[in-house]
């Protein structure tokens, strides 16, 4: 049961002590890794004769970019970098358990944070596109009967997003811990491939896919 606990790594001794959860600390590590990788990989970019490394990087980023662009279209172009950041972050966070860290997405605080930013972005996209009047009016569409449901959606969408991610990662984390407890050698490998890599990437994909769909819906 101790493994299910979200530990507090340290406490900042101001305002009566601010606890820093493990998920936040691991997120910092992920951020550092991503930043260093970016700085190392994104060097000597060339327009005319790209290196193999650059081609690989470009095809990866291009793939993500095209994926979101297909969903969002030309109008939602400004949200693409954020969605790409989130998919990379969640993808890495979900498989970070493999490297001996606790996946940050196992912490509900982390997924709530992600979902809140997502819902903020979704509503902002609608507001940005339609203006205040159109934004308010959009809650009464397609008919005023839908008004309460549309308002509820603001709460339901991020909840479903964060709970889905949290539940999946926590579940796979628990299963992996149990498997490691039963048999630490060989046995966890295929399960790790499924729970950490496959499920991890699927959840990252689902999270950003739904977010982009909602954004698309909001800017339509």
């Amino acid at each position: 049961m101790e493994e299910l606990q979200c530990k507090t790594v340290f406490t900042i001794p101001v305002f009566g002590g601010i606890p820093i959860a493990e998920s936040v600390a691991v997120t910092w590590i992920i951020m550092a890794v991503l930043l260093i990788l970016s700085l190392v990989l994104v060097r000597n970019l060339s327009v005319e004769n790209p290196s193999k490394k650059q081609l690989l990087l470009e095809s990866g980023v291009g793939f993500l970019h095209n994926f979101f662009k297909d969903i969002l279209g030309e109008e939602g172009k400004i949200y693409i970098p954020y969605l790409m950041t989130v998919v990379i972050y969640i993808g890495i966070a979900n498989i970070f358990g493999v490297f001996g860290f606790v996946p940050p997405t196992k912490d509900l605080n982390c997924t709530i944070g992600l979902a809140l930013t997502s819902i903020f972005l979704i509503e902002y996209a609608g507001f940005h596109k339609k203006g205040l009047k159109g934004f308010i009016k959009s809650f009464a569409e397609p008919s005023p009967v839908m008004l309460p449901i549309n308002i509820l959606e603001i709460a339901i969408r991020p909840t479903s997003l964060c709970m889905r991610l949290f539940g999946n990662v926590l579940g796979s984390y628990v299963v992996m811990k149990l498997l490691e407890f039963i048999c630490p050698a060989i046995l966890p490998i295929p399960f790790s491939l499924y729970f950490d890599f496959f499920d991890g990437f699927i959840q990252a994909y689902v999270f950003v896919f739904l977010t982009s769909l909602f954004i698309k819906e909001a800017i339509e």
Binding site: S46, V47, P81, L108, G113
Partner: protein
């Protein structure tokens, strides 16, 4: 096990910071390079198209020029042919005329010559006849008178003979 606390805020801050960092250091440069390459390729395609169009235009121009040159040369050749024909005809005509004139002249010369020869022969025959007559007669008196007499005789005889001949 489930507790929601200040770490939500930290996560959001982390996300925003990560987003800004990624945008600045990863997606920004890469998308920029990709965009630049796309622009470059588009530009190259456009310029290639332009060049092709220009080449086609030039080709058309050259073909026209070639065609007009061919026409021109054809025209010149035809003109030269016509002129040559006219000239040849003129030369042949001139030659014919000249030849005719020469022939006429030659005929006239021959006739004159013939006449001269006839005259000379007539005088020679008269002399010979006179000589023969004087030899026969043995003497020579009033020769001038005789000479005219023979002349007359020969002429008559010749004329009558000529008449028989013709």
């Amino acid at each position: 096990m489930i507790e929601i606390n200040i770490n939500v805020v930290f996560t959001i801050i982390n996300l925003i910071v990560l987003y800004l960092l990624m945008k600045k250091f990863l997606f920004g440069p890469i998308l920029n390079v990709m965009e630049q390459r796309k622009n470059m390729i588009d530009q190259q395609f456009a310029s290639a198209k332009d060049t092709e169009e220009q080449a086609y235009e030039l080709k058309g121009k050259y073909e026209d020029a070639l065609k007009s040159a061919k026409d021109e040369s054809m025209r010149i050749i035809n003109a030269a042919k016509d002129e040559a024909k006219v000239q040849a005809e003129r030369i042949v005509k001139d030659a014919n005329t000249q030849a005719g004139a020469m022939l006429d002249k030659a005929k006239a010369d021959i006739r004159t010559e013939q006449e001269n020869a006839m005259k000379a022969m007539e005088s020679r025959v008269a002399e010979i006849a006179l000589d023969a007559a004087s030899k026969i007669m043995g003497e020579k008196n009033s020769s001038q008178q005789d000479l005219s007499l023979y002349d007359q005789f020969i002429k008559e005889a010749g004329d009558s003979n000529d008449g028989n001949k013709h």
